[in-house]
Symmetry: C2
Subunit: 469 residues, 2 copies
């Protein structure tokens, strides 16, 4: 195809190429299709895996048995996308982006055949890759990641075939604690080996400590401040234990939940701008910086943290979907922006709910902010109402200005989603003093007369006023 003939010539159909068929890529494709007909815009999407538009966040619940069918995690199948005039090419990997030439080189994963496809507009949604520890035995049978549906199926197959009941989870972030729950639900004895001093390093250690205690209360063995150095295998070559510097932990199955890094090798090779965390850098319209006709979104980009003013890497489906929406709108000639994040996350392990938004103490220090903290205990409902459960709320506010900087919540039912109150307040730049007057929903089955977030705001406002921390 003569590219000069298709690029921007009036009356000629443009071609949008999407690299990556998951949340960000296919949201972008779908939104562009909503705004432009197939006569106006051709959309070609490449996906190297077997599935599109699946919920990676749902994998722990599928493994744990809460979701019985893999297909329920697929929001939209390849066929459904194709029915909407999206030329989705599965099992096809893009191996090169030729920015100067306005084209991508794709390879059929099965046949190895390669071909070039030109684009007028390009969307990079290559996602993230799990961090795989570089240690002996990490690839042994019985050692599993949980990033793709294929990963999940392989783990379920292992769990089904394995007679032993000892599981080791490496890593105690969101994936780690959710996989600990999944394995508990399947009847395993679970040990979590964690490099940090407490689980959930996205919380301050004092709040992580509460998660630690609660996980032990659930029968999970927590090993903190410890790095796995080796996976030990038995005579059959399968995993039999993980080793740390000091000890061995017997394991019939090992789950790696160490986190992910942006998958940007293609973008790097193409000379596109990457940030400190290895993610693509975009403007507020999700356009790759300095490139008029290339957008990027989802787990392969860095996002602006509205509280610290810095870029961060956050792999989370809800952001990927928003990015896709913004990109699809812009790629179709509309206008939309993604202003940034405040860093909200919520998770659970059995009945323990864990949530955070904004900055931890160390984030605030890194951003040059001085702050006060307030930590309070309250309950999810009026104290006298049945099933009222305790929760701990920690709040950070900037010294002098009193601006809200962050909130962390650990509790039971009703704790996690309360973080949304703080997420909106952070976005609005509210002070903790302003928050004390928030008109939040109150009735005994829903909240004490002072919502726990308000109790924390009062305490934090007092700390701001007295200058104490």
């Amino acid at each position: 195809m003569n590219m000069s003939a298709v690029r921007g010539v009036p009356g000629t159909r443009e071609r949008l190429v999407v690299i990556g068929g998951d949340a960000a890529g296919m949201s972008a494709a779908s939104q562009a299709r909503r705004l432009k007909s197939a006569e106006e815009l051709e959309i070609v999407a490449f996906e190297r895996g077997h599935f599109t538009s699946f919920s990676a966040c749902g994998i722990p619940y599928w493994v744990g048995g809460d979701v019985d069918d893999r297909d329920r995690l697929i929001a939209r199948t390849a066929e459904e996308h194709r029915a909407r005039d999206i030329d989705l090419r599965m099992r096809t990997e893009v191996v090169e982006i030729d920015v100067a030439g306005g084209r991508v080189r794709a390879r059929d994963v099965e046949s190895g055949d390669e071909y070039w496809t030109s684009y007028d507009k390009l969307v990079i949604a290559t996602g993230a890759r799990p961090i795989r520890p570089d240690m002996p035995g990490a690839d042994a049978p019985g050692v599993h990641g949980v990033q793709t549906l294929d990963d999940g199926q392989a783990l379920i197959d292992t769990l089904t075939r394995t007679r032993g009941r000892r599981a080791v989870v490496v890593g105690a972030g969101y994936i780690g604690v959710e996989m600990a729950e999944a394995l508990i639900n399947r009847g395993y004895e679970v040990t979590v080996v964690n490099r940090g001093s407490e689980p959930m390093s996205t919380l301050d250690p004092d709040m992580g400590r509460l998660v630690h205690e609660a996980m032990e209360g659930l029968g999970i063995t927590m090993v903190n401040d410890t790095e796995v150095t080796k996976v030990l295998t038995g005579e059959n070559g399968r995993v039999r234990a993980v080793a740390t510097q000091d000890a061995e932990y017997p394991a019939d199955v090992v789950v790696l939940g160490i986190g992910v890094r942006p998958e940007t090798s293609l973008a790097r090779a193409a000379g596109l701008p990457l940030g400190d965390h290895g993610g693509l850098l975009t403007d507020l319209a999700m356009r790759v910086r300095g490139r008029e006709n290339i957008w990027a979104g989802g787990d392969c980009v860095e996002v602006l943290d509205l509280v610290s003013g810095r870029e961060r890497h956050i792999a989370l489906g809800t952001h990927a979907n928003k990015h896709g929406q913004v990109i699809g709108t812009n790629a179709a000639g509309g206008y939309a922006t993604f202003p940034g994040v405040v860093g909200t996350a919520v998770s659970k392990v059995c009945d323990l709910e864990i949530a955070r938004t904004g900055l931890r103490e160390k984030d605030a220090r890194r951003a040059g902010l001085q702050y006060v903290t307030a930590t309070i205990e309250s309950t999810s409902r009026a104290g006298y109402y049945p099933n009222s459960s305790p929760m701990t709320v920690k709040m950070l506010a900037e010294r002098r200005t009193g601006r809200l900087l962050g909130v962390q919540i650990v509790g039971r039912e009703g704790a996690g989603k309360r973080v949304d109150i703080a997420a909106v307040a952070l976005t609005a730049g509210m002070t903790v003093e302003q928050m004390t007057s928030l008109d939040l929903g109150y009735a005994p089955p829903f909240s004490p007369v002072w919502d726990p977030v308000l109790v924390a705001a009062r305490r934090a406002a007092k700390a701001v006023n007295t200058g104490t921390s």
Copy 2:
């Protein structure tokens, strides 16, 4: 006492008099005491009833059996207040405020004895009185209000003694629907007679319709567009039915849940400023307008609605507590304000959750605002996650500016407290377009990848942009 001797003379202890010993009054007294010792400030509080600081909002759950002990509804007893050097005089009614003289006349309810007490600073927290329909039989045995603990006890006594199992609730606002739940929980056949076209007139009728259907699904008989004209009694003088213009509804017990009006007869007689709804008017520091040393808060005041810019009357414990906090701070020489409300309320009837904040359609019209609406269906959790339950979210946004005006939510578990997201966004003056980017907590057990509130915001933003409603 020579008042000129105690009023504002340096070195002399001031006296703070509080009229009303419930949420607002006793919060004010407690906060003032926290800030000023008994040597600096004398605090005298008058309460005409038998209890202080009780949760009126908890009464339906006590009647329904969720709360087994009346005393659990009492946040702080008279003895506890007295132990903190608050001179709390129970069963003592203030019958006159002499503003010019700086004194109040109190009457011992038991003995009838009256006496004057001077004040340097006065707090009016006289609460609200239930609207009692002016109709024959309204005072018959078996007809109950549910505003005070005494009311609640009387109703429980009736329920315990009554063999019949038919209950009629008059009114279908918060109190009405909560009492319907309480009576269902006690095994009654419940009929709710409602003057409005749908239950929950604090919602738009289209959302009230969902409540109507859900209540019927719970086995509650809803009679709308109907006014009770008479309570019919049997030979023993007890209630036997309620009559409307068209029909009779047999009743072994009748609960009046019609709502409340500010109790401001004392304030009116004293010439203090009242608003259109009969509540006291204050400034932002909760000072009665034009009166330097008189504050008022709780159910007897009108509050500024931040969305419409008008005064409203809202009887709600959470506001009363905030008012008390502000008043106590100011009365003790500190500084605090109550900026106003956005009109958030949440309630439930069995497993149905009902929430609202901001303006209904008719409120927006009354305020001179043009608006678009968006109503969406979504779920409380990811669709594939167990116990994901449906909810309907209605959103109003101002035409042209896109400013959020209001949100109404009807759903099951997880629906109600989502209204807090909108409450904070309203307080911050966000547009629905801004809301589409909110970084809300996402994980499959907590939310779909697009939170229902975000789905509504997207739809509303689209309506703003296209100018459709």
